[in-house]
């Protein structure tokens, strides 16, 4: 990225008098130290200001009071990367890719137990099954694919029964999932979904900025509750506690870290109850 900026600066595309015009425009790359929560826009601002990456309460939105208290526009690199093709070929060209309200293309990261992993950019609308089985070629181990986590470490787990879901923001949301940053992680039939649910809570506990109570305390309590479920200590009661805790985290957390941790936990519980020692129940999101 820094090399690309340097090339642009030498080509007079960046800096003073951009491309011979009277405009000045420059790019400065700031590298974070790797905290997951610093992807959240307000903790990102704190981090750039040289402070600890702690989420700010909103409002005020960054567009009103952002970096160093000044109005700040925040865009995903994904959005910026889509700009050149739209400027070159027109809005209609980009818009004609995709389905429903999800227009254009999405860079999808296929990873985990998958035969052909890597980065693929494709139009919205491809089904999850086509992504995993056609593009990804199924599992690397050759065993049947049992679960796929879509959206990143805080995305929902989808079973094979939901492989007909088109890659579309609304379609995933309708089935209690999310597209997130387009990460797709494949698991074969040896996966233990209770362990995966525990991992989500553990991840949140490690990555939480610690500001808000639902995320800071909820994630640690979540690990403990799932441990009790795995060890069959008052399982039924603890399953109720887990659902209640997820509800609190989802609606009470300050940002999406605590707010989205319930997605992998609850989807694992909903679609793979047998891994939690509970009797299988009917899919709620499948209709």
């Amino acid at each position: 990225m820094k090399a690309a900026v340097e090339i642009a600066r030498r080509g007079a595309v960046l800096g003073r008098r951009v491309a011979g015009s009277s405009y000045t425009f420059d790019i400065k790359v700031r590298v974070g130290a790797g905290a997951y929560v610093c992807g959240e826009e307000t903790s990102l601002l704190e981090s750039i200001e040289g402070k600890r990456g702690v989420v700010r309460a909103k409002p005020p939105l960054p567009a009103h009071k952002g970096l160093f208290g000044r109005p700040t526009v925040i865009n995903n690199v994904l959005s910026f990367a889509s700009v050149p093709i739209i400027l070159e070929k027109g809005a209609a060209f980009y818009r004609d890719f995709g389905i429903g309200k999800s227009r254009g293309t999405m860079p999808i990261q296929l990873a985990g137990n998958v035969k052909r992993g890597g980065l693929f950019e494709t139009a919205f609308g491809i089904t999850l099954g086509d992504l995993v089985d056609e593009i990804g070629g199924g599992s690397a181990s050759g065993r049947p694919v049992r679960a796929v986590q879509v959206g990143g470490p805080l995305g929902a787990y989808f079973p094979r029964a939901l492989f007909d879901t088109p890659f579309d923001y609304e379609a995933f949301a309708a089935r209690d999932g999310l597209i997130g940053h387009g990460g797709v992680v494949v698991f074969d039939d040896t996966v233990d979904m209770a362990k995966q649910a525990r991992f989500a809570m553990e991840f949140c506990a490690i990555e939480s900025c610690g500001k808000c109570t639902p995320c800071r305390i909820g994630s640690t309590r979540g690990v403990e509750v799932i441990d009790r479920i795995i060890n069959n200590t008052e399982r039924a009661a603890n399953l109720t506690v887990l659902e209640d805790l997820c509800n609190t985290m989802k609606f009470g957390s300050l940002c999406a870290l605590g707010g989205f941790t319930p997605y992998p936990v609850m989807s694992a519980l909903t679609h793979f109850p047998e891994d939690f020692g509970a009797a299988p129940r009917r899919l709620q999101a499948a209709e």
Binding site: A57, K211, C212, T213, G252, L254
Partner: protein, 89 residues
């Protein structure tokens, strides 16, 4: 010796000169612009639950006890001319 009970409004007084009128739970209250919903409610005698807020400090918005839903804690949300109602969340 008795204790002096001071009212904790949750967030500091806004120094703005412009005043706005809010309707909270059907009752009107006029406060300086930039007043938090929590403080405006307390002016009416409505206590919104809080753990991390007190009127000696700027609002921090971490305990989430005063939230209706995500991103709308009443300690960090300041006045805008619209109606607020108590929720049972």
């Amino acid at each position: 010796m008795s204790l002096v009970h001071e009212i904790d409004y949750g967030t500091p007084r806004s120094e703005a000169e412009k005043f706005v009128t809010l309707i909270i739970d059907g009752r009107a209250v006029t406060v300086p612009d930039g007043t938090s919903i929590m403080r405006a409610a307390m002016e009416l005698g409505t206590k919104i639950p809080k753990l991390c807020a007190t009127d000696m400090m700027e609002a921090f918005g971490s305990c989430r006890l005063c939230s209706r839903k995500r991103w709308t804690s009443t300690c960090t949300m300041t006045t805008r001319p619209r109606s607020w109602t108590r929720s049972r969340a």
